[in-house]
Symmetry: C2
Subunit: 137 residues, 2 copies
DNA sequence: TATCATCACGTTCAAATGAACGTAAACGGA
DNA sequence: TCCGTTTACGTTCATTTGAACGTGATGATA
């Protein structure tokens, strides 16, 4: 059965993604908790954060639970899913859906440390090995 | 001397990027040429394309040259620069500026062919070798 | 040289997005 | 139990983005 993407859910806008990320990190959070978890230089209003959380819930990205007088928000869609969708969108837009050119650019542009390069090679080797073995799911 | 990023030029919107990419591919192009270079299923108006090209010029991404009655647009900023900026913005938004997690996600999520994996490894090896040698710009 | 098609430019318009508020309800401490 | 504080919800507002048009100018062709 295909993974069946519930709804296309076109890529999240900047600000909403930013807020969603905070919720992901915290696991679940109230408006105030999100506000406090934001970097200090990012001076967002309590109300603004509230707005984004509400929108995220309306779009189906977050679930809302009541805890006393507070709303507690938590992921309704797995973060990795959202990240994948966002990356897909990005790759489609910039590289016609080809991952390879993105890699090349990335490798060349970002100053990767030697350690990071090693780590990447490691990952690739592992992936390759896994491929040879079980080629399932 | 530092590369000196002229203006922050916050990441291009979807549609404008789409049009800019066409210009990059063609090297330079008139409105009509861009329109015709777009995939057929993308039914954009002549006027709409014109608008985006104009905006891109206003933002400093494209240069405009007159050829008879036509405007001919060409890159005013190197495409690779724009791509880098766009990627930076994306990585900042989604991965706090860390390239590595992006790689991991990418490697795991996109179904890379064996050949692609090989190519990546090749690239990494080359990069590593180059590093050892001249470390300057 | 008159005509017709094409083009540039300014302008417009709706929807999405970033950001914020006012009010009324709910809670905890005095 | 009353008061001050905090929160939710609906609502609003400006800007950006996606998309398109009308008019006047321009050039090729008859």
């Amino acid at each position: 059965m295909a993974p069946k993407r519930e709804a296309p859910r076109g890529a999240l806008p900047k600000s909403e993604l930013e807020i969603a990320k905070v919720v992901w990190e915290l696991g679940e959070a109230t408006v105030r908790q999100v506000l406090e978890a934001l970097p200090v230089e990012r001076e967002l209003d309590f109300w603004t954060v509230q707005t984004y959380l509400r929108r995220l819930e309306a779009k189906g990205y977050l679930a809302k639970r009541r805890d006393g007088r507070n709303n507690v928000y938590s992921p309704a869609v797995r973060p990795t899913t959202v990240i994948s969708e966002t990356m897909d969108d990005f790759i489609n837009r910039l590289f016609d859906g080809e991952a390879l050119p993105l890699f090349q650019h990335l490798i060349r542009d970002r100053d990767l440390s030697d350690a990071e390069i090693d780590e990447l090679q490691q990952t690739l080797n592992t992936l390759k090995a896994d491929r040879k073995r079980g080629r399932s799911s």
